[in-house]
């Protein structure tokens, strides 16, 4: 028995398949927020030490690197407030690594949601990024306390930090959209990305600072990496007003258009791919 041919649309709201964003924006926000908060709570209260474990990882890395680069290889010797710079760099980079690596398998891990309820698919990678953000903010508080303890006084330029965080957020979200949708089809995205993230760790001025590079010709290529710009600018804004700005190191503010443009492009490509894959994700899991 079939429906008589009537003008469709007289039948009310058409059901569209799943999409990246679609539909009710408030529900989108509620879901993203709830998933992120739940995840964060689970990690925070999941074990006895809770947040300490979350903090311990960057702190351990910080301790080891600090020891190596101040005692064994005196890399940080001539850098003003090197320990603070190092901790801040590690916290920013940890955010990047946690959010992106965490997002890779997010759609696959949340299979039971994706296959069983209708919701905008973008919720999943975004909630992973948001959880990493919560963690990031808490870690930044630790950085601030450490900075104050080391005698750094708050300056107006600290207000640049939220802008830098936003920029990191755009970068990380772009990568998260790209990786999570690719991973649904290609399972070697995870190991590949872990290697790339490792390379980026050394390719960004995390343990060193850009103006101490011996070969000046390396500076500009490294600054093409947006993370390098964020780290360099954050160092100047928070720790050392005499450190060069990102614009200075790259050779003029105009050059910054390249890393910024790259982030925008990455976000656009990530969104395009995710949006294209979104309707079929539930079937491909």
């Amino acid at each position: 028995m079939s429906a008589q041919p009537v003008e469709l649309g007289a039948f009310g709201r058409p059901i569209r398949g799943p999409s990246a964003l679609g539909g009710d924006f408030r529900r989108f926000l509620h879901l993203t927020w709830t998933l992120a908060v739940t995840d964060f709570k689970l990690r925070f209260f999941g074990s006895v030490l809770g947040y300490l474990w979350q903090l311990l990882r960057p702190l351990m890395l910080f301790g080891v690197l600090l020891l190596v680069f101040t005692q064994f290889v005196p890399l940080g010797k001539n850098i003003h407030q090197y320990p603070v710079v190092l901790l801040q760099d590690i916290v920013i980079f940890t955010f990047f690594a946690d959010a992106t690596i965490g997002s890779v398998g997010s759609l696959v891990d949340r299979e039971n949601l994706v296959r069983k309820i209708h919701f905008p698919r973008m919720v999943i990678p975004l909630s992973v990024v948001l959880t990493a953000y919560f963690n990031f903010l808490l870690n930044l508080v630790v950085v601030m306390i450490f900075a104050l303890a080391r005698g750094i006084t708050p300056r107006i330029t600290w207000l640049e930090l939220p802008l830098l965080l936003l920029f990191m957020g755009v970068l990380v979200t772009g990568v998260a959209m790209l990786l999570s949708s690719l991973y649904v089809r290609f399972r070697d995205v995870r190991p590949i990305w872990e290697v790339v993230a490792q390379a980026l760790f050394y390719g960004s001025p995390v343990i060193y600072v850009i103006d101490h590079l011996q070969h000046r010709s390396f500076r500009r290529p490294i600054m093409m990496n947006p993370i390098a710009d964020v780290l360099t600018q954050a160092r100047r804004a928070v720790v050392d007003p005499h450190a060069p700005s990102a614009a200075y190191v790259i050779g003029g503010a105009a050059w910054l258009a390249i890393p910024v443009g790259f982030v925008v492009l990455l976000f656009a490509v990530g969104f395009w791919l995710f949006n294209r894959e979104a309707p079929r994700i539930a079937e491909q899991l």
Binding site: L8, G12, I15, H30, I117, D188
Partner: protein, 415 residues
């Protein structure tokens, strides 16, 4: 059904098709893709839905019935917006809520309170609503004492109760439900049924995917049967349920291997045995309550005088249900020469409970009761029906109750 009754239907499914393409050779890695950029992988196409159309008026309790892999769950997922349809369209009037699984998003490491919020938000509540309804959820689930217990410490029954209680707190005009009733203990199930009745009374439209023909008959005003992605029929729950049972067991019944054991001196061979429906057609499945006939064709090898023909019907578990013999009708069955044939028939109105019914025919010498041939479980049929009383047969009966002078009489439910 028609689109015109009662204005606009709650749900319209218009020519919906859905094909899954399953790669024959899965490329799972970028490496393979990079090494073989030009290799095209073949795809198996699986047509899960083929041009399905129907409409459901507001306030109807509509059943969607089909075997495993028939496409019924795919249909529900398309209606829920979880799968994108390839062609056709689906329209709804009102808020839709989907329950494909109870407790979607439940996290074992969180307490009931958090899980109720989480699940409620998943199902479409705002965080505030989810919090406000928490007390009602817990009360309905009867889990007041366990509010702060982590979900991983819940028994499976408690888990189900909590999930169901959240589900019914969700406001929706149209509910899409996939087999969530098949869980929980008897008293909780009764509670669920009450809720469904209430929802029905509140005028909610409910689309209900199930295998449980009892539930279809109890709740649904109409139902549809879907098989291999195609809509077979839409009709009264009873018709749908009967068709479903036939579909389900009909094919299986003929595939079933029949008994090979034989006893007797083979002075006669029971060459064939079968069941027929009321029209004299051979069947492998027969509806409960309808007239049917068992027949066995016997070929004689040696002269026999007045042999007795008999048959025993057994349940699947081997319990004898009923036996009969020509002895009880007439002892004089005649004289047979080698090569003579006879067909022994037992006609009855099928009273047996749904399930497999085996027939073991035999032929004996009249005087000595020596076996000429006996073939245990030589053939079988599947009795189809929707009424399962738990007994092995369902007899025509009347149920009555007398109370202080008034008499309440109800017909028994034999088909």
């Amino acid at each position: 059904m028609s689109a015109s009754t009662g204005g606009v239907p709650a749900v319209v499914v218009d020519g919906v098709s859905k094909t899954f393409s399953i790669p024959r050779e899965q490329i799972h890695t970028l490496k393979e893709r990079a090494l073989h950029p030009l290799r095209r992988t073949g795809h198996e196409r699986f047509e899960a839905l083929k041009g399905v159309s129907f409409a459901v008026p507001p306030g109807e309790f509509f059943g969607i019935v089909g075997r495993n892999g028939s496409g019924k769950s795919t249909l529900l997922k398309c209606m829920a917006g979880i799968y994108a349809v390839d062609s056709g369209a689906i329209y709804v009037n009102g808020r839709v809520s989907t329950f494909i699984e109870l407790g979607v998003g439940f996290n074992p490491d969180l307490a009931a309170r958090d899980n109720v919020a989480l699940n409620g938000i998943m199902l479409g509540l705002s965080p505030r609503d989810a919090r406000e309804r928490f007390e009602r959820v817990i009360e309905f689930a009867e889990l007041e004492e366990f509010v702060d217990l982590k979900l991983k410490n819940y028994s499976s029954g408690m888990h189900v109760r909590l999930a169901f209680s959240v589900m019914i707190q969700v406001d929706a005009d149209i509910l899409l439900i996939d087999e969530v009733l098949a869980v929980g203990d008897a008293s909780f199930q009764q509670k669920c049924f009450d809720v469904f009745h209430r929802m029905k009374d509140e005028g909610k439209t409910i689309l209900f995917v199930t295998h449980d023909m009892g539930a279809v008959r109890r709740f649904c005003a109409r139902a549809m049967l879907i098989e291999r992605g195609e809509l077979q029929m839409i009709g009264k729950p009873r018709e749908i349920a009967d068709n479903y049972m036939e579909l389900n067991f009909g094919r299986e019944a003929s595939a079933q291997e029949e008994g090979h054991q034989r006893y007797g001196d083979r002075s006669a061979d029971i060459a064939d045995a079968w069941f027929e429906d009321e029209h004299g057609e051979r069947q492998t499945a027969l509806p409960q309550g309808r007239p049917c006939t068992f027949r066995a064709r016997v070929v004689f090898n040696r002269p026999s005088e007045h042999p007795a023909f008999a048959v025993l019907f057994e349940s699947e578990s081997g319990q004898p249900l009923f036996a009969t013999s020509t002895d009880w009708a007439s002892e004089r069955t005649g004289r047979y020469e080698p090569g003579d044939e006879a067909v022994f028939s037992v006609a009855f109105e099928n009273p047996f409970a749904p399930g497999r019914l085996f027939a073991s025919p035999w032929v004996t010498r009249r005087a000595s009761q020596d076996l000429l041939d006996r073939r245990p479980r030589m053939t079988s049929i599947v009795v189809t029906g929707t009424h399962t009383s738990g007994g092995v047969v369902d007899l025509p009966h009347d149920v009555s109750l007398e109370r202080a002078g008034e008499t309440l009489t109800a017909r028994g439910s034999s088909a």
